[in-house]
Structure formats: structure tokens, C-alpha cells
């Protein structure tokens, strides 16, 4: 067995934030874990027959049903009397979670299954070639929200998935980032220590779709957090219990690293709108570090 439960040798792109995050999640969860995966990049690059990265039991069924398949796995585990010793983790990308898989996820959360759901958010359908999803940010250039003579990119801000999950009255919701690995692993361990449905959303840069250098994955992920565009928060029993405080940087510091936002850099009025999204986050979640608030 390799040092990690997510073996190297997979076929993810260089600099893939999702492969990094998936390894951190699984290693935090440990060997007594069953993984249920939606269709998407992660399943494709880690399970090409006859090879597999997964040194724990793993099942992939369809694009939108990991939460429901996991509900069946968890019910069987409960029937077998192993509910206290086995973790069940369902996971998928942003499209498989917030769009096509939202119904199955909502059912899983509402029914109270003892499952951790992890959404790897790379903010578009990367596996099919960078199409816009419900978690694609405002003004992003994707292949189905292209910039054109009468378009500035994606029309709508991100769907508030952490709040949607939290509205189900579940014990734990967290937002994490592949730029903050220890924080991610702490959140996974905390989630697995609690009974009931849990939701963690992890920001995972995609060099191909975001068009940044493959050695910049961590910096890009960190910049999203440090500008206030991707707040790292935790809800426990519905109450905001932690947020990673920052000395907010202007959003250009994040946008300029990525080709998907290149079209905005000479459009101050659009940058202003994106800065407002960050400012609202900073205010809403109290992200500004104490020293900065004076």
C-alpha cells in the first residue's frame, strides 16, 4: 500500500486542484471509508479500467446519483451493524452537486443519512470541456457562457450551495480550499466525527478551465480566499461557527491570474461588480481580520 489511500499514477492534468483535494479528503477520512462518486473528472482520471487509485472501496454509478447511491450504501452499512466503524463519503463536482445532482443531494440531507458529501468545486463542467455550471462565478468566460460582442461571460453569480445545504438543518456545513490543505483535513475529520448528513464544498482550481499556469494552483486557490471571493466558513447546527479571517486583497489580484477572467481586466465597471461580491462576503461572514477593522 502506498503512503496515501489515493494512489499516484492517475491521469489528471498537471496542477489539478481536485486530485490534490481528493487525496487530502481520503487520507483524512482513513481506510474505513467507502467512497461513492458522481461521474466527472475525478472518477474518470482515477478509475480507468483495469487500474484504480482507490485503496478503499469505491463505487461510481451515474452523474447525478452519488448522494442516493450513498444513501443505499449507508442503509446497508446500518443494516449490517457497522454504522459506527465505517465512513460513507459521497462526492462529485460542482455540476454533479449543484445542478443535476441537487435533488438527490437534497434527499440525502433531508433524510438524515450519516454521510459526508464533498463537492469539489472547480466552477464549471471541466470533464466535458469547460461549460458553465450553477457554481460558475459571475462574468466567467466558459465555452457555454462565452465572451462576445453582446456578452461579458456568465450572467449570474454562484448558487449559494453551502447555504442551501445548511437550510436542510444538518449538523455540519463547511467551505474549504485546496489552497489550505490542513484546514480541509481538519474539516473532514470534524465532519466525520459528527452523526448525520454533512456537506463540505472545496474550491479546486482547474488549470485547463481557469487558464492559469499549472504551478499556480495553490496560489490561485489562496487568492480566491484572500480576496473574499471564496470565504472559508463552517456552520455547526445551522450557526456560523468559524470563518477564516483575511486582510482583503482587491479582486484583481485573483482575477488577473486566470485566462477565464482576462476579458474583465480593462473593464473597471465589471471589476467593480465582482469587488462588490467580495465585499458582501466580507461583511456577511465577518472575514476581515481584527487588525484590519479599525
Amino acid at each position: 500500500m502506498s503512503k496515501t489511500l489515493f494512489a499516484p499514477g492517475h491521469t489528471a492534468c498537471a496542477g489539478c486542484g481536485q486530485s490534490m483535494a481528493a487525496r487530502l479528503v481520503l487520507d483524512a477520512a482513513g481506510p474505513n471509508t467507502i467512497i461513492v462518486n458522481n461521474t466527472g473528472c475525478l472518477e474518470v482520471f482515477s478509475t480507468k479500467y483495469p487500474e484504480s487509485c482507490w485503496e478503499v472501496p469505491f463505487i461510481h454509478s451515474l452523474f447525478e446519483n452519488a448522494a442516493a447511491v450513498a444513501s443505499g450504501v449507508e442503509s446497508a452499512v446500518k443494516y449490517l451493524g457497522k454504522a459506527d466503524t465505517i465512513n460513507v463519503i459521497a462526492q462529485g463536482g460542482d455540476g454533479g452537486t449543484a445542478d443535476i445532482g441537487l435533488q438527490a443531494l437534497s434527499g440525502m440531507l433531508e433524510r438524515g443519512h450519516n454521510i459526508l458529501y464533498v463537492c469539489y468545486d472547480n466552477e464549471a463542467y471541466m470533464n466535458t470541456g469547460v461549460q458553465r455550471s450553477g457554481l460558475t462565478p459571475f462574468d466567467t468566460n466558459t465555452t457555454t457562457s462565452p465572451v462576445g460582442a453582446v456578452s461579458i461571460g456568465n450572467l449570474r453569480p454562484k448558487k449559494p450551495m453551502p447555504e442551501i445545504a445548511n437550510a436542510h438543518g444538518i449538523p455540519y456545513v463547511a467551505v474549504a480550499s485546496s489552497g489550505f490543505g490542513q484546514d480541509l483535513q481538519r474539516k473532514v475529520k470534524k465532519a466525520l466525527s459528527l452523526k448525520g448528513p454533512k456537506y463540505i464544498q472545496v474550491h479546486v482550481p482547474c488549470p485547463l478551465g481557469w487558464r492559469h499556469e499549472t504551478n499556480m494552483t495553490i496560489q490561485v486557490a489562496k487568492a480566491a480566499v484572500e480576496t473574499g471571493l471564496y470565504p472559508l466558513i463552517e456552520y455547526e447546527n445551522g450557526v456560523l461557527s468559524s470563518r477564516r479571517q483575511i486582510a482583503p486583497k482587491p479582486v484583481e489580484e485573483y482575477l488577473k491570474l486566470q485566462g477565464r477572467f482576462k476579458h474583465l481586466l480593462n473593464k473597471p465597471e465589471e471589476i467593480k461588480k465582482i469587488q462588490e461580491i467580495a465585499d458582501n462576503n466580507i461583511k456577511k461572514y465577518g472575514l476581515k481580520a481584527e487588525a484590519q477593522q479599525a
Binding site: P31, N32, T33, I34, V36, E43, V44, T47, K48, Y49, P50, S52, W54, E55, V56, P57, F58, I59, H60, S61, L62, E64, N65, A67, A68, V69, A70, S71, G72, V73, E74, S75, A76, V77, K78, Y79, L80, I86, Q103, A104, S106, G107, E110, R111
Partner: protein
Amino acid sequence: MKELLEGSMAVAEVVRLCKPAVISAYPITPQTHIVEELARIVADGRMNAQFVNVESEHSAASVVLGAVATGVRAYTATSSQGLFYMSEVLYNIAGMRLPVIMTTAARSISAPINIWNDHQDVVSLRDSGWIQFHAEDIQEAVDLHLIAYRLGEDKSIMLPVMVCMDGFILTHGLETVDMPSPEQVDKFLPPYKAPYKLDVENPLTLGPLVDPEYYTEARYALNKTHEEALALIPKLAAEFAKVFGRTYNGLMEGYQLKDAEKVIVAMGSVCGTIKEVIDELRAKGKKVGLLKITSLRPFPANAIYDALKNTPKLAVIDRALSLGSFAPLSAEVKAVFFGKPKKPKNISSFVVGMGGRDITKDSIKEIFRLMNGKDKQAEFIDLKPELLKESYD
């Protein structure tokens, strides 16, 4: 023990005796009585099972997929639109070789919306990889569930099985049923031992990405297994008779075939009506018979050939359509005889009983009568031409 039971109650009871660990379903008419009864049984502690109330049929099928993949027995039931909503998952379950067992209360499909019985839902799923059985009556519906678990979970098969029973006619009808005892069921159906499962002691990857180097063989093997099921079903039928003291006909059942000059081929509850008509016509000296197909998948082509090769006139009843082409069961029955040395002189195709329109004895007699002329193609019986005159002009 013989009891007067509603079809849904009888099915719920036989499912209880089969001891699934996980039951998951979403309500749709006319499947509801079955899952309501199972929910009551679980709520009363008469059965140790996890009952998972889901938000859709897609998730019901996904829950039982996950449960069987974890190594336990599972059960679901649906109908019509629910079956269609499940269909993506159903193909996936078969491809993943997971023996999920499901009851389908066969019902028409929308539009127009209609909750009554025909076979358009289930017949549309014939290519999904599921074994598909059709029950003639409530007794057969009960018996087919026992066969379904035993067959699907056989290590040489490992396929899901769908037991189709005509909506309302069988799900809500009452019949005297010979219910098996728990001891008989335990004898016939041992606990499920999964040859592969999600197990932290022995981690496996299920549902991998398979490229052109391997995909063909996976689908070939699935098809081959259906052939193996064809051979196994009659053996299980023989064993069934020994354990339960009652005959179950396996792939198909012939009724008054021996010297029959006119034979109807059909599936499901209409076969009961056809048998009555045959008895009446036989009393008048008419040489008529029935071939009831119980197993639509695997399709018993060779057995059908042997049973009907000397029959002069054949009529196939479809309660489904393949819109724009031949009626589905008729096309398959005709294919049985293509290129064979013997075949019926005539094979006609009739469509009857759509969306719950009653199939009366007169409907069946009309079919026997129409078999005298030249071959009919998807000829609708009991059609009301006056309703076809309305237009938007």
C-alpha cells in the same frame, strides 16, 4: 397456506419472506399498495429492513443499487413514468451486475396521462439488461418474486430482475393465493452472498471507466448471461415445484397447444381471459390455443419455435407499441421463425387493451375470428373510429 389476498398485499408478504435488508421506493399509482404494506410491516417490527423514503424514482433505484453493491438484498417497486425516470439507473444496475429485484405495476405512459394498465412502460425497458418476467395472475406474481431473487443472485447470473404485474388488474385485484411458508422460502432462497461488494476489508473499485479495449467484452458477457439464464430458469422451475409443491412454468406456458390450429401469443393477465375463451371454443370443437410468454427477457426463442413450428395460424397480442414500426412482441415472435424450416402460414399482430381499456372475451373472440383472413399488422382491437374524427381545422 391459501388466503384471499389483494395482489399488492400478496407481493408485499412474499417480499417480506425474501428478507431484503433495504427497501426504497417512491409512490406512483398503482404500485403504492405494495410499498405502503411493506412500510407497515417494517413499522410494526415484523421485518428487519431499512425502509428508505426517497425524493424520486431515480433515487429509489440508486438507493437499492448502493445497497446491493454493499452486499445486502434489496427491493424496490415502481410503475410507468417512475420506471422511465429510473431507466438511466436501471441500465446502470444491469451493467454493474447487481441483482436488484423490482416489481413493476405495468401501466400506460403519458401523454395523454393515464394511470391504467397496458405494457408500454415495461416493454420499453426490454433492452435494459434486466431479466423481465410477466405474471398472469397474483399467484404467479408471488411465485415469480421467489424465482427472481434466486435467479438474479445466482453467482453465474448476477442480474437484476423485474417482475411485471398488470396494474390494478393484479395489484388491486383479489385472488386466493397459496402463500409459501417462511421455511419453504428459506429452503429455496438462501441468504445473499455477494461475490463482490463494497468492503473495507477487501477494497474494490466498482463502476470504473472502461475504454474501447474492454467495453465490448463487458456488454458481450451481459448478453451471454441472458442465454445462461434461459438454461437456468427451467431448472429453477423444477426445484421450485419440489420445494413449494406447485408448478411454476418457467419461461412460458402452453395452453391447449397440442392440436391447435389457431394460437394466440400473449403476456400478463390477458392470458386468463384467453384461457376462458379457449375453453368455450374448445367445447364447440374449435382447435384453439395459447402460448403465454412469462420471460420476455431472456426471450425463449428456441422454446417458442419448438412450441409453435407446426401451428398453422398465429396471432400475437401486444399491449404496447413501437411507434412507427411493428408492435414489439409481434416483431420478436416473427423473428423466431425467420430462416427456419417450419413456420406458421400466418402470423398476425394485434394491439389491444391500451391505457386500461377492458379486454373482454369478445375482444379475444374477435382476434380468433380475424385470424381467418390475411395477416394483420398491429391491428387495433376495440378501436373507436368515431373518436378519431376530431380535428383542429
